[in-house]
Amino acid sequence: MKPYIVIALKNITNNKARTIVTILLSSLSTAILIFSTAFMDGQHKIMLKNAVELYPGYIQITHKDFRDNPSFDNLIENSNKLVTTLKKNKKIASISQRFETFVLFSSDTKSVGAMIAGIEPKNEKITSKLEKSLLKGEYLDEKDKNLVYIGAELATKLKVKVGDTISFIGTGADYSFCADNLIIKGIFQTGLFEFDSTSSFVNKKYFDELFVSENLSTHIIIKPKDIENAQFLSDEISKTLPKDLDSQSWKEFMGSLVEAMELDSIFGYITIGIFFIVIFFVILIYTLLSVYSRIKEIGILRAIGTKKEEIFSMLLFESVVLSFISVFIGGIIGVILAYYFNINPIELGAEFEEQFKQYGLASTALPTDFNLLNILRDMIIMFILCVGSTLYPIVKVNSFKPIEAINHV
C-alpha cells in the first residue's frame, strides 16, 4: 500500500470528530435528496395514474376525426366485431365500449346540460374507477333499463337524490330526437369537480335502443395488462385497426397533463438544486476549515520531501473515502425511507383535501416512488457533489510553499 494511502486512512480514523461530522452532513443530504425526488415522482405518478384510471383509460380507440370533431359522423362502426378481434390480443386486460353524447337534463326545478354515456357496467368496473367512486345508492349493472349513475355535483345542481326521476332530451346517433325519464340509481364522486358536475352514465344496452347506437361507439377503452407498456401496445393496436380509426395512449390524449407534470418536475428540481448549492458550500467551507487546521502538518510533510501530487492524492483519497461512506449510508437511509413510504403512503389529512381535488386526487395519501435507478442516480450526484466540494480546499492548501505552511497561523 502506498504511504499516502496509509496516512489518509490514519487521518480518517484518528480524527474521529471531523470524520463523523463530515459523514453525518453528507449522508443526511443524500438521504434528503433521495427522499425528496422519490416523494415528488411519487406524487406525479399517483396524479397521472388517478387521472388516467379514473375514466379516460390507458388506451383509447376513436374515429380519427372524432377528437377534433366529435360529431355522429365520426363514430366507430361495427364496434362489437372490433372488440371481438381485439380480445384475441393477450396483452389486453380489459376492453369496454362507450358512447358519449351531450343532453339537456331537467328535474322538477332545474335544467342542466351534461354528458350522458352508455357504458358496459361489467367491463367498466375494470377499465375505470367509476364503480369505486360510488357515493350513494348503487353502481349500474347489465340488466338496467332507465337507471342512471350520476355525478355528485350534477345531482346537486339538479337538486336530486337517489330514487328521484330526471328527464333528458338529446339527439340520437341518427340525429333523431331522444327523450326519456331516468331514475337515479347511484351517485358517484371522483373528486374531479369538472367530471362530477357534467357526467352521467347508463347501461349501454338501454342507451343503444334509445339513441339508435346499436353496434356503434364513440370510444373503445383498453386497459393493458402491463400498464407501463401502454404506448407500445397502443402503437401495436393502431396497425391492426381499420383505416378510419385511431388508437392513442394516455400519454398522447392527456398530453397537457403529462406536460404540466413535467413542468412541475422541473420546478421541483430547481428547488432541490438550490438546496444542494447550499449544501455544496457548507461542505466546501467545512472542508476548507478542516484542511486549514492541518496546514502545518501538510507543510511538514512537504518539507520532508513529500511531493505536491502525493499530498493532493492523499487529501483526495480521504475525501473519496469519506464521500463514499456517506453516500452509502445516506443511500441506505434513502432506500429505506422511499420503500417505507411507498408501502405506507404519507397521509396529509382532511384539511388538504380541497387542494388535492384540484389535481384530481381523490385521497390525500401520497406514496413515494420507489425506483432503484433514480436512487442510484441521486447517490452518484451526491458523490460527485461531495468530492467536488473538497477540490477547492485541497488545491488551495496545496498552493502554499512548505515554509509558509509550517509558519501558518
Partner: protein
C-alpha cells in the same frame, strides 16, 4: 316616339321598384294561405343514415302553427306550437312542455336540416327583410333580401328565385353575415290542391363543409287549404291535448 320610350322606361322603373314587395307578398300568401292542414313526410339523409318522419302541420296565416309527429313510433305524439315567434315543444314520453329559447332557434329541428327558426320564422320574410328585384327572365324573378336593421334575423342575405307562373319560390340561397353560402332550399313538383298551387317537394341542402353529405327532403302527402281550423289548436293546452 322618343317621348313614348322615355315614358315606358320611367313607368317600368316604377313597376320594378314596387313589384319586389308585391312579389314577396304574393309568394307569402301562396305559401301560407289563409290556413293549411297538411300531412308531410320528411326524409333526413346524413352521410351514413336515412330516416323518415311523418307529421301533421296545421297553420293559420303567418303567425300560428301547430305540428304533431305521427311517425316513427319513437317520436309519435311530440307536438310543436308556434304563436308569433315563440315556440313550444311537448314530449309525451317525459310529459314535459319545453319552451324553445331564442338561443336554440338556429338548432336543427328534430335532427333535420331545417332549423327551429325555419318553422317559426320563415313566414316573416316580408316584414324582416328589404326586398330588391335583382333580375328577371321569362320564367322567374330573382330577388335579393337583406335584413332590416331592427329585425333579429339569422341570415345575412337571402337570394330567392321565384316562378313567374305560380308566384312560388323555386330555389332559395341562404348566406350568413360574412356572405358565405350556408344552404340552399329547392321547391319542386308544384301541384294543385283545391284551388291553390303548392310545391309538394322541398329539398334542403346544407352547403357547409361540416354538413357534407346531408340533406333533408320534405314531401307534402296531402294538403287542405283555407278550411276552418279549430282555434283550440293554438293554445298551450293543445300541446298535451292533441298529442294523443
Amino acid at each position: 316616339m322618343f317621348r313614348y320610350i322615355t315614358l315606358l322606361m320611367v313607368t317600368s322603373i316604377f313597376l320594378w321598384a314596387s313589384s319586389a314587395e308585391d312579389i314577396i307578398k304574393k309568394v307569402e300568401d301562396n305559401l301560407n294561405g289563409k290556413s293549411i292542414d297538411m300531412k308531410i313526410s320528411m326524409i333526413v339523409y346524413t352521410q351514413k343514415t336515412k330516416r323518415t318522419m311523418k307529421l301533421q302541420s296545421l297553420s293559420v296565416g303567418k303567425t300560428k302553427s301547430f305540428m304533431k309527429v305521427l311517425y316513427p313510433k319513437k317520436d309519435e305524439g311530440i307536438t310543436f306550437l308556434k304563436l308569433d315567434n315563440i315556440m313550444w315543444q311537448y314530449v309525451p314520453k317525459i310529459e314535459r312542455i319545453i319552451k324553445i329559447p331564442a338561443s336554440m332557434m338556429l338548432q336543427s329541428w328534430m335532427g333535420s336540416d331545417f332549423s327551429n327558426d325555419d318553422l317559426a320564422r320563415e313566414s316573416s320574410i316580408a316584414d324582416d327583410y328589404y326586398q330588391k328585384l335583382l333580375s328577371q327572365d321569362d320564367n322567374s324573378y330573382i330577388l335579393e333580401l337583406l335584413p332590416k336593421e331592427e329585425s333579429t334575423v339569422v341570415w345575412g342575405k337571402v337570394i330567392m328565385n321565384i316562378s313567374k307562373q305560380y308566384y312560388l319560390p323555386v330555389k332559395v340561397d341562404y348566406y350568413d353575415e360574412d356572405g358565405e353560402l350556408i344552404r340552399i332550399l329547392y321547391y319542386k313538383n308544384i301541384k294543385q290542391y283545391g284551388k291553390r298551387f303548392y310545391p309538394s317537394y322541398w329539398e334542403m341542402i346544407p352547403q357547409t363543409e361540416d354538413k357534407k353529405g346531408r340533406k333533408t327532403i320534405m314531401t307534402v302527402d296531402s294538403a287542405i287549404f283555407d278550411k276552418e281550423i279549430k282555434s283550440s289548436y293554438f293554445t298551450k293546452r293543445a300541446l298535451k291535448r292533441y298529442s294523443k
